[in-house]
Symmetry: C2
Subunit: 317 residues, 2 copies
């Protein structure tokens, strides 16, 4: 019996019916043709995951597919964009049918849940890496940018922070004994199957003054937001939202994880104090963790008292 | 003296002033914000180049940057799109300043010539590979698709075909003695620094009934066009446009090269016979190489006489 060709496998696993009327022409021509709603701007982002760097070689193919899409959708969420279309560039060492099937299953589990259509791609042979380009749209003028924070604004972060960093430690064989099985599962799930906060991003249109997603660690990403907005901030450590998983570990280390954990993909945003009631009513809990100051720099407080934290920005490659 | 950080190098080489008023927000936020002209559709394509597969490890970094962009712009050309914006996902084994400078020089030499703005990207550590996503626009309904060829249409290809395939043979150490130095240079230039036919693509709007770019070899790509349009074709071998470089080699092999050479990035298109005068007046020479038939399949002629050619489609990964 003849083995299926790679091309056939790709077609089998990656060509799905497209329900989006904005897709005038999908996979199969030299390029896709897409129609944007009138009055909306296009939002574009691209991110690569490399095996052994952004996920362990042992990662489940389902999770790799999910995460490759999730990290890109998270950028759209951070802009307040409606996620619409993606392209997928997949570089594979060989045509492993099981890998392709599971990768596609993970990718489309998230894509279909979020109403995102795969409109193009390229498959090449080489060391495993995945580049997704995600396209969304947002009414002109309503995108959430990094540069709109003003002194006096409140500072928020969605969900919980630090779990993905804990998951990474677990992958590296650290902290295994300190954690209960449920806490381990939570942390690993956050690391391998992140949740892009798309609904929150949409809800924050016209409400957040600045926003980004926490991909490199809260302290570092906050630094980017403050620099872009030309302001500073005070951050209250006791207000950092932590999952029960982080409660199991030493609290000083939990603070560091909450501030430096990459891959959490929560939204970090600022808003005027007038928005407090609206933000408290959002379906996803957002913790008020500090306030924006005219004075530049990031200062840490614990129960209102200034403290030093060893979390200076680091170069991320 | 401290070495420059990778981040700083990327910023230095890849952040250029953007003149395009459609770029509402470029590099530096979670995603780019782009405004499409009213009444136009978005055209999106993505292609990856992997070291050792799509270019030799010895390739000049300038050429790698050029080609990574060119192969994507070629897809936009094949759609009749105006090229506008690109994202660049660059995976690098290390932060080699010379490589980055030269890669960026090649990339922007083409980008700036074609008025294309880099609006986003990602730099990661890993085996060298480059994924570009190219975005263009085209008035709704005017895109050149693969599926519009009709029986009786003429079949054309732009420029010359076969040179890039000859260049690849030269890279593999073949044919070196048969070719004059000038012919070698031509063939290697075509392979390493392809020319996306953007101006031709724009000129063919409303004129070509179907179009694609020759990236996998003329015979194979023509097969895709015929299948999409549900037609067949007769192709006259003596009409295949060949550069002087191909004149130096055995003519039977030159035919095969012209039919199977990937990487030529010429446009292959069909048009009604009424368009002959307009096509003859195009600034880039386009050779009439055959005609579209209602009968399915691709048949070869030499001086009008049917011949067999050993160029059955092959699986391309």
């Amino acid at each position: 019996m003849a083995q299926k060709g790679e091309f056939e496998l790709i077609r089998e696993f990656f060509r799905r019916p497209v329900a989006d009327a904005g897709v005038r022409l999908g996979i199969g021509d030299d390029a896709a043709l897409l129609a944007l709603p009138v009055g909306e701007e296009l939002v574009v982002t691209t991110d690569t995951l490399v095996a052994g760097r952004h996920f362990p070689d042992s990662a489940a193919p389902f999770d790799i597919g999910w995460k490759a899409l999730a990290v890109n959708l998270s950028d759209l969420a951070a802009m307040g964009a409606q996620a619409r279309w993606v392209t997928l560039a997949l570089t594979l060492p060989d045509s492993d049918e099981t890998f392709l099937r599971e990768f596609a299953r993970g990718f489309f589990a998230l894509a279909e849940r979020e109403g995102v259509s795969l409109v193009g791609g390229d498959t090449t042979r080489g060391p495993l890496s995945i580049t997704v380009t995600a396209l969304g749209c947002v009414p002109a003028g309503l995108a959430l940018r990094r540069d709109g924070a003003r002194a006096g604004d409140d500072l928020y972060v969605s969900g919980c922070v630090g779990d993905a960093g804990l998951g990474l430690r677990l992958e590296l064989g650290q902290w295994l004994d300190e954690l209960a099985p449920l806490a381990r599962d939570t942390a690993l799930q956050r690391l391998h199957r992140p949740e892009p906060r798309l609904a929150l991003g949409l809800a924050l249109r016209g409400m957040a003054s600045a926003c980004l997603d926490v991909s490199d660690g809260l302290a570092q990403d906050l630094g980017h937001l403050l620099a872009a907005s030309d302001v500073g901030a005070e951050l209250e450590l006791s207000a950092l939202p932590r999952s029960a998983a982080l409660a199991d570990i030493d609290s000083a280390f939990a603070d560091i994880l909450a501030l430096t954990s990459g891959d959490d993909y929560e939204l970090l945003f600022t808003a005027s104090p007038e928005a407090r009631k609206a933000i408290a009513a959002l379906p996803l809990a957002c913790a008020r963790i500090g306030r924006v100051t005219a004075q530049a720099g990031l200062r840490f407080l614990r129960a209102g008292v200034p403290v030093e934290m060893p979390v200076a920005g680091f170069t991320h490659f």
